[in-house]
């Protein structure tokens, strides 16, 4: 019997190596796999490349640094591929100090490069970013009269995913705007680890309503956490 559920965070995080490329979805805390990020902090892998849409808000005095920013603060991140690095954020400071390398790219290009990895597309052209700083060093070709940039797929070793519902085959459903990057990173990683609010019996999710088929999922941890909070 296929059973992708794991019983502990340690089991969920097992085997993540130093130097891994880790994808972290979520958009302003909605759909962010915060429990798994904490698990990764605990697990200890370092020298990570993290693929994440936004690298965090500016530090607020008195507010504890958590999540991805905490991973950066602990010196565990070597590189970040992202669409947002803010001045005054933990990551922004680390980039300024030269301890973290940032590849900052358009959000749509980020999403498409992740999907491309999952779909077996090694590279694609896009007009987004042509004639801008993000095209520097990239190949340009004209299609239908528009200059387009050649962008490569972003593959990951590990994806951390937050689902609303999951079954033992790893079929997933996301809630509201919590879908965002979750289905994409699940496709793009060698090892996809899911935290889920709810556990379903097999078949409880109708075939038409599965948002991420279990083929993209390796491990599922039942983690009934609260609703997402707005970032401070």
């Amino acid at each position: 019997m296929i059973d992708k559920f794991v019983r502990s965070m340690a089991e969920a995080m097992d085997g993540i190596r130093d130097g891994a490329v880790v994808m972290i979805p979520g958009f302003a805390e909605v759909g962010a796999p915060n429990a798994l990020i904490d698990g990764l902090i605990e697990q200890g892998a370092k020298d990570l490349t993290v693929v994440i849409n936004a690298t965090g808000k500016p530090r607020v005095p008195g507010v504890k640094v958590t999540g991805f920013a905490r991973l950066v603060e602990l010196g565990r991140v070597r590189k970040v591929i992202t669409s947002f690095v803010r001045a005054g954020s933990v990551c922004g400071e680390a980039v300024k100090a030269g301890t973290v390398v940032a590849e900052v790219i358009p959000q749509g290009t980020l999403a498409e490069r992740i999907r491309a990895a999952g779909a077996g597309i090694p590279a694609f052209y896009t007009p987004t970013g042509a004639d801008t700083l993000v095209a520097e060093g990239k190949e340009i070709r004209e299609y239908r009269g528009r200059r387009c940039v050649l962008e490569e797929a972003i593959h990951a070793d590990v994806a951390l995913v937050e689902a609303w519902m999951a079954d033992r085959w790893g079929n997933l459903v996301f809630r509201g705007a919590g879908r965002n990057f979750n289905p994409l990173v699940a496709m793009a990683a060698e090892l996809t680890i899911v935290q889920t609010h709810h556990v379903c019996d097999l078949g409880q999710i109708p075939a038409e309503e599965v948002m991420t088929p279990g083929i993209f999922v390796d491990r599922v941890l039942h983690m009934p956490v609260g609703d997402p909070k707005l970032p401070v």
Binding site: F27, A87, P106, T109, P127, G178
Partner: protein, 218 residues
């Protein structure tokens, strides 16, 4: 009235948003950028069916939720809690940007630092040397939408023009802007340059031109 006294008042942020909202017809699919563009949503009458898109996978945003009736799973690209309109749909990020990049949005309205007379837009960075880079979805929207409008103050806080012959800040996209709503005027980007559509009451063409680097067309 003496020549030094001004007989006009620039539009407020809400005034600019309301002005832009007037020009959005029923049935358009529209993405409203962060800042003043987001305010436009408040000025579209609810009976006019304009379908608002947000980069994080929401198509059909409704008005802001009432206090204590917020759904923490529904936010927009500005991380504000939102409601869904009846008829809304939710998709993942690649599908959401397929909407943007595939040319399906009738309009996106963005904030701007500078717009050039050829339609170049700079709205994300003041210098290529800046370490902090906040690109987000702006480059995708500027390139992908059928029309790109910019809403911004006509001049900077220290009075420097933003309506330029050529942008000095790093570009968001080239030759993308079709119209600009400022706190002083509405300008169309045409092959010949900026064409003035309207000026706020009391301001003359030459007063507007004096506050613009690019040459304006009547």
């Amino acid at each position: 009235m003496s020549a030094t006294e001004q007989d006009w008042a620039p539009l407020s942020r809400d005034g600019m948003a309301a002005r832009a909202a007037q020009d959005i017809p029923e049935g358009w699919y529209v993405n409203l950028g962060i800042g003043v563009p987001t305010l436009i949503g408040n000025h579209i009458p609810p009976e006019r069916e304009v379908i608002l898109h947000s980069e994080n996978g929401v198509l059909g945003m409704g008005p802001a939720p009432e206090k204590h009736r917020e759904n923490p799973w529904l936010i927009n690209a500005s991380s504000q809690r939102i409601t869904l309109r009846v008829g809304a749909s939710l998709v993942h990020h690649a599908d959401s940007f397929a909407i943007v990049r595939g040319g399906h949005l009738d309009l996106c309205v963005l904030g701007g630092f500078q717009v050039a007379e050829n339609g170049d837009l700079a709205n994300w960075s003041h210098s290529p040397k800046e370490v902090a880079r906040q690109i987000g979805g702006a480059m995708d929207l500027a390139v992908g939408a059928k029309r790109v409008w910019v809403v911004m103050e006509h001049v900077t806080k220290d009075g420097k023009p933003r309506i330029l012959r050529r942008c000095s800040y790093p570009l968001t996209a080239s030759a993308c802007v079709t119209r600009v709503y400022t706190n002083m005027a509405v300008l169309d980007v045409t092959p010949a340059g900026f064409k003035v559509v309207e000026i706020i009451p009391g301001m003359s063409f030459s007063e507007l031109q004096a506050r613009s680097e690019a040459e304006l067309i009547r």
